[in-house]
Each structure stands twice: as structure tokens, then as C-alpha cells.
Symmetry: C3
Subunit: 358 residues, 3 copies
């Protein structure tokens, strides 16, 4: 059903996007078309990546997910960086962190909690993720913010570059830890919760063959790249028309568009009581943005005219820090319920109002 | 014994308060009279509420406690708001949070810990409370502080209003979670600790009949309202005389007066090794102030000439945030001892010195 | 082996230090000589303290460790204070906290984790330490920072004095808790991990007799004092030559020199899978610096011309706060692995780059 809708949207959306950008149709209209097209293309990228991951086994699959999981966001951001729209890029990174951590996880916990009184997930993963969230968001984002106050721009870029390299290295080390040295070491807890969670990867069949998946991935990535570039050019008009600030567009709109596919699958997993997967999508995606996409964009920006330091605005930083602290406290026991989901959603709502009014 | 003292204080205090405010006696003297009278009236309100809660069962009882638990504070604050004394209201809210979280809990843990080597309470409640503290104090108070820096006053009021509504809704959702959907779900841990904690509500008898309780509640609430209004008018003189800042009066003095009854009962519960109740009073009361009283006052202030945004001073905010973090780390294991109590008291002392010197 | 190297270094280093400071040799050269001499003298102080601790039993031994454990740092700092070098003292305190919490613990977890997949330590100690870290660093250091913004210098000194007294009293209370009232209360968990950890103090023999240990302690303390004074005078030249700021010298160089002996023994303990001891050295030393050395220096500075408030620079404070939060999240489960060590080291690296560029 959902797949059919996305198929329909892609078939209609891609030609419309091409036509609209060539024929200079209303930017407000095209903004909507671009957003829907990207959401549906992202769904194809997700399915292709998933198939390749199943075929390649968990190690290469993990790397593939790490690379293509936030590919849409990465592509949109590179086009925005090339235009020098640093504020929008930082805002959309913030939006991704907040969206995954509060909106995706919040909806998953809430919807899952409406069906099940108590839902459990691997408590070791929760603690491992807490440490990474604390490192990737709080240590690595707060320090350049504070230190750059007393620095020249060149020093701030040096610091950001150093931090970015460390973030990416530690992110790869985390994959190595999870997929190689400590694969299965912390698994027995999951097994106690039911054989379903423990054996979830054993019988999995890829949706598509390797060849089909690679073709779909290549085509949809190219299409996303094309549409994303067009999308970036509509921001100014859209902001002026609706009275939205660049910050609000970046934090809320781009983030929701870029992560829509993940939102859907996390909630479906929670509804099936597969909380390990739902949490992995929400928190794993946050970590990917904070420890891989963001630092990669900093490094890529070194080759563009305007360099991007890893320095967020104070509202962006404070919302990410409080979101991380809230998630750590809520997830650290390896259990969720509807009220914990509601708490995360309430936090997202507060931040959304704040960014809207800013 | 204690009840007799409060009876005596009410019998003497209320007429003295009326006489003093009509005859314009020394404001310093009357400040003391008002404080003692309010403390003893609060004890009556507490007993009446408790009786009604026992009679009405836990659901309505929880709501009653939620409404009347911080009624004194609410009444004093409304009178102060009407006078435009926003700084004092925010300071007294801060003082309530700090007083409950550090002084009440600290004394309870310390006094209980002198008698018992290790005291336990429901670890699920501890985690639930940690999430709410993180949300109610850190997310909901830090965000308006930071965002309002770049906002007009009108926008700051809009943001505060939005956050206040979300806080109250989530507070009610928390009651619904605790009293309806998840009532008893997390109870088995308490049961393991001894049948006393598990069955603590079963054999309880109300102290007063429904009729007597309602009359006492109505009369003492009216009396508190009357005395509170007089109390607010003495702040300026008292501050000038003793060299206390409005901040110190609000954070330390008003908070202790407004919460004296709760302090006493929490410590008595800890001494009886009923840590579940002691923690519920201390942390529950903090959450009530942060998620119900504070936002309600913001909403009420919309009808007064001077509106109150949910924006504390930086020292107020930082003390609340650090107090919450300290409490979360200390309480998260569901165990206490005298040293944890001493740590909380030491934190209160540091903050008290800070506000005194400010 | 290591002991022989230190013996050699002391035999060579002390005469060279005396000669160099009298004959005004190159300050850059002498900086290196002084550092190596202090490191090796510190090893002797450590062994003497350890022998005395074994002879005196755990209570007096704990007090001895508390007093002499950071004696080198204390002595260097007193000389720097006398010279009015407040910035360097605060920087070296920061460096001690960061070095112990991130570098020592990070290396221990990492090196130990290369040999053992999962290493455990007493989870009760971890939680006890978390509470103290939260109090000693976050409450006690953040509050004077924020409050002193709105205070006169005299008020800031009053606040710092008050906080310092409270910190020392609570530190002594923590020793009393650990060594007297709750000695062995939380031990059973350790016992489950193996009889080695549980009985680790039972069969221990002192390395030296009481007399020899006291003589070594007295001589090495005197020598450290002499060399430290010379070391402080080289900072300016060294900073100018290498382009290092006073902040970088204080935070990174002095901290590594002052704590080198501890670094070595923590890592050796981790490699032997004695994680209880490794964590005790790393976190215990942090707490000693934050709750005993730092406040003691504030109190000592009251007798010097320039008084030192407990007010760090913002970068110093933020690095300490984030380091504490990271350590709490990582250590709270009583387990470590190589990746947790790598995370701590990555955080240290980020902060080192920051201080270097500042």
C-alpha cells in the first residue's frame, strides 16, 4: 500500500519537478512538489539500501546504512553549502537531530505504547547510545561553541576541522566495535525478551536482488540530487510568503522532508513491538547525523568558498543538548511506554514553537 | 503534639494577623506573625486534602493533591502577581523547586539515613520522576531563557504561554498515566521491599469526615489568602531592614514558609523508612511547582496588567538545572543513605549563600 | 624496571635541577629536567604513601592518600599562587580534572579493553562517584561562575570561601562515609566478580617499613617543593618559545607532569583487570582535586596578596562539565570496554586541540 503510493508519487513527482524547474512555475507550488518527490525517492533509497544490507551481511550492511542512511540530507546540504547557505545547513542538521531524537522516537514510543503497556529494548544498546549521544552532541558541539567565542574565524575553522576528523574516526570505531569486536557480546539480554528480537536478522530475505537494488539506489540518488538543488532555490520565496524564518525552514521543514521515510519505518517497528529496531532507527540516525553527516559537511565545506565551522546558534545548541539529556534519562532503563513518548513529543513541540517565533 | 502546636498557632495567629494589618503594627513583627500563621494554616490544608484524598480514592485524591498541594504558594503568588511583583514570584518558584529538591529531600535522606544504613524506594518511580524533572525544569525552563534573548517581549510571552499549556497538559497526562493507564504496573518492585510499602494505601482511614475536611479546607484556604496578601506587603520593609534582596526573600524565605508543612511530613516519613512517600512528597512537589503552579501563574498573569514570561534570571535557572541534575544522579538507583542527603543539603547551602550575597 | 628508571631519574634529576637553577641554564632545557624530576619524585611519594597506607590500615590510609595523593599538584600550585599566577593555578586544576577523568580513565579503559572484552567494577562505587562528580564539579563550580557575574570581587571571594569550606567538609564526610559508617556495606557486588577484588586488601604487605616510608616521603616532598618552585619560573619562557598559551601549559603540560605517576598505575591496574582500583585512581583523584585541592587553594590564597576565587574561565568550566557528564553516562553501569576508553580519549583530544588553539 505505502509502496504503491510512493511509486505513484515518484512517477508523477520527478517529471513534474523537471518541468516545473525548467518552466519556472510558482515556487510555492514547486516547494510542495519537490518535498513530496524527495520523500518518495527517499523511500526507494531506503528499500534499496536495506536490500543491499541484507545481501552483504551485517558488517558491510552497517557501513552501507551509515553511508546512505542520511544520503538525502547530505545531498541537500551539499547543494546548500555550495550556495553559501551555512545557516540553513546548520539548522537542518539541528532539525535532523531534534526530529530523530524527539519526533521519531517520541511517535514510536507513543504509538507503540498505545498497544503495549511496557516495551523493552536492549539496555546495553541504550547505554552505548547514551555515551555516544553525550560525546557526539554535548562534547563535540558545545566545545567549539564556547571556544570559538575567543577565537579568530581561522582558528574556529581549524578547531572544527580537528573535531570533525575525531568525530568521524570515533563513528567508524563505533561501527567496528558494534559489527566486529563486540558483535553479539551484549545480545543475551535481547534474547531473554523473546526469540523474535534475538533472531531477527537470521531469516531475512532481501526485497530486491543486488543488481536491481544498485540500479534503484543509483537512479533515486541522482534524482534526489537533482530535485534537492531545485528545492534549495525555493527557500527564500517560501520563507517570505509564509513568514517563516530560514531557521524554521531548516530546523522543521527540511528535517521532516529529509527524514520522512525513517519516521514511517520507526513507527511501524514500534507498533510491531520491535523496539530494538525502532530505537536503532531514531537514535542511530541521530548519531549518524551528529558524528558523520555534520563533520563530513564541515570537511566538504573546506573546498567551497564559504567554510562552515561546527558552531551552531545558541538556540540550536541548547535544544540539541536538552533533547539529548532528555533522551538519555528516558531511554537509559531500556523500557518505554506511551507517556515517555508523549514527553518527547511535548519537548519537540516546545522547540518547534520556539523556532517558529524566533 | 505537632497538631496541637499548629492549633494553638492558628487560634492566636489569625486574629493577630487581622488586628496587625488593620492597626498597622510594625511590619517586621507582622512578617513573623504572617509566616507562622501561614505555616500552621498550611498544615490544616494538608490534613484536609489528605482526608479528602483518602475518601475519594487514589484517582480523585491525586487530582486533589495536585490542586491543593501547593495551594498556599499559588495564593501568595497570585497576590504578588497582581502587584506586578514578577521577580518575587519567579524567585519563589525557584525557591520551591530548590527547597523541595534539595532541602526537603536532603533532610529526609539524611535523617532517614541516620537510622537506616540503606533505604530503598521504587526505582521505576525514580526513573519516571527523572524524566519529568528533565522535561519540566531543564527543557521547559532553559528553552524560553535562551530563545527569549533574541525575541521581543510579546514573542517571549507567546512562547511562555505555549510552553505553559504544554506543561500543564503533560502534567495532567502524567497523572492519567500514573493513576489510570499504568496504575500498579510498576508496583511489584515495591512489594519485594516489604509488604508495608506495597499495601500502604489499603488500610488507610481518613482523619476527618468528608464534610469536616471540606469545611476546614475552605476556611483555611480563605484565611491563607487573607494573610498572604498582608504578607506580600511586608516584603519591601523586611528586605530593607535585614539587607535581604527581593531575590533572597523569594528564593529562601517565601519558599520555606510556603512548604513548611511538606518539609515536616517528608522527614517523618523518611524516619519511618517510608521512602516512597518521602520521595513522592519532595520530588512530586517539585514537579507540581514546575509543571503546574509555574505555568498556571504564567497563564493567570495574562489577565493582569503585567504579564509574567517563563524567563528566570540566570542564577535562578542555573541553580534549578544543577539541582535537577544532582537529584537525577543521586536518586536514579532507587536507594538513599545519609551521605546522599548530606550532598543535597550541601548543594542547598551553596545556593543559599549565593542568593544571600547576590 | 620502572622503579629503576625512576631511581635513575631522581639520582640524576635532583642535582641537575639544583645546578641548573643556580647556574641559570637554558630555561627550555631546565623545563624538561624539572618535569622529569618531578614525575620520578612523585613516583617515590606515591610508593611511600602506599606503604604508610598499608601499615596504618584503610581508615588512616585513606586519609593519607587524600592528603598526599595530589601533594605535588598542591605544592606547585601554592608556589604559583604566591606569585599571583591565578590563571595558571585554575588552569592546572582544570587540567587535573580533565586529565584524570578523560586521559587516565580513557587509557585505562582502552588498554584494559584491548585485553578483556568486558571489564566490570563496583556499580555502587560508580554511582557514589557520579553523585560526587555532579556535586563537586557541576554544582560547586558552575554556581560561582554564574553568580559572580553580578557580584563585586569581594562578594565573589566570600562566595568562593563559603563554597570551599562546604566542599572540604563534604569531602571529609565522603571519607567518613566510605571508611567508617558504610565500610563494606556495598562490597558484596565486588565479591561476585571474583575473590580477588573482594579480598584485595587482606594479604597486602607494605613495600617499605614505616620509618623508611616516612623518610622517603619527607625527602621527596621537600625535593618536589624545591623543583616545583623552579619549574613555575620557566613557564613564561617556555610559553613564548613554543607559542603555547599559559592556559595550554596549565591545562595540558602541568596536569600531565603532576599526575604522571597516577596515570601509570591506573593503566597497569586496568591491564591486570583490577578495574575497581583503576577507576578509584582516576575518578578518586578527580574528586580529590575538585573537592579538596581546589578549595584548599582558595582558602590558602586568602593569606596571599592576590586572592583566588573559584571562578574558572568559560572554556575551562565547559570542558569540566562536559567531561563529568560524559564520565557519568559512561561509568554508571559499572562496565567498561575499549570503545568507552576511546570515547573518553577522543573527548580529551578535542579539548586539547581547543586549548592549544585558544
Amino acid at each position: 500500500m505505502v509502496n504503491k503510493i510512493f511509486f505513484f508519487l515518484v512517477i508523477i513527482g520527478v517529471p513534474l519537478s523537471v518541468a516545473g524547474s525548467l518552466l519556472h512555475w510558482s515556487q510555492i507550488l514547486m516547494f510542495g512538489v519537490y518535498c513530496l518527490t524527495i520523500v518518495s525517492l527517499a523511500a526507494y533509497m531506503g528499500r534499496a539500501t536495506e536490500s543491499l544490507a541484507v545481501i552483504s551481511g551485517p558488517r558491510i550492511g552497517g557501513l552501507l546504512n551509515a553511508t546512505f542512511g542520511n544520503a538525502v540530507e547530505l545531498i541537500i546540504s551539499i547543494f546548500a553549502l555550495r550556495e553559501g547557505l551555512i545557516e540553513i545547513v546548520l539548522a537542518s542538521l539541528t532539525g535532523s537531530v531534534l526530529g530523530n531524537l524527539l519526533l521519531v522516537a517520541g511517535l514510536s514510543f507513543f504509538v507503540g505504547g498505545l498497544k503495549f503497556k511496557r516495551q523493552k529494548f536492549n539496555v546495553y544498546d541504550a547505554r552505548h547510545n547514551s555515551g555516544l549521544l553525550m560525546f557526539g552532541v554535548i562534547v563535540a558541539f558545545v566545545i567549539p561553541e564556547v571556544f570559538s567565542m575567543d577565537m579568530s574565524d581561522a582558528e574556529a575553522i581549524s578547531l572544527s576541522t580537528g573535531i570533525s576528523i575525531i568525530l568521524i574516526v570515533l563513528y567508524l570505531a563505533a561501527l567496528f566495535f558494534k559489527l566486529v569486536t563486540h558483535r553479539g557480546v551484549y545480545q543475551h539480554v535481547s534474547n531473554q525478551e523473546g526469540s523474535d528480537a534475538g533472531g531477527k536478522h537470521v531469516h531475512e530475505e532481501p526485497e530486491w536482488s543486488r543488481k536491481k537494488a544498485m540500479i534503484v539506489l543509483a537512479l533515486s540518488t541522482a534524482a534526489v540530487a537533482y530535485v534537492s538543488e531545485s528545492l534549495v532555490h525555493t527557500f527564500e520565496t517560501v520563507g517570505d510568503t509564509f513568514g517563516w524564518s530560514e531557521l524554521f525552514i531548516g530546523v522543521i521543514i527540511v528535517a521532516i522532508v529529509g527524514n520522512a521515510a525513517e519516521h514511517a519505518s520507526a513507527i511501524i517497528m514500534a507498533y510491531k513491538n520491535k523496539m530494538d529496531v525502532a530505537v536503532e532507527i531514531a537514535v542511530g540516525s541521530t548519531l549518524q547525523v551528529a558524528m558523520f553527516v555534520a563533520p563530513l559537511l564541515v570537511l566538504i565545506s573546506l573546498f567551497f568558498p564559504v567554510q562552515m565551522p561546527l558552531v551552531f546558534t545558541l538556540p540550536e545548541l541548547v535544544t540539541m543538548v536538552t533533547a539529548v539529556l532528555l533522551m538519555i534519562v528516558i531511554s537509559n532503563d531500556g523500557e518505554t511506554n506511551w507517556f515517555e513518548g508523549a514527553t518527547l513529543l511535548a519537548a519537540y513541540l516546545i522547540m518547534g514553537i520556539g523556532f517558529y517565533l524566533l
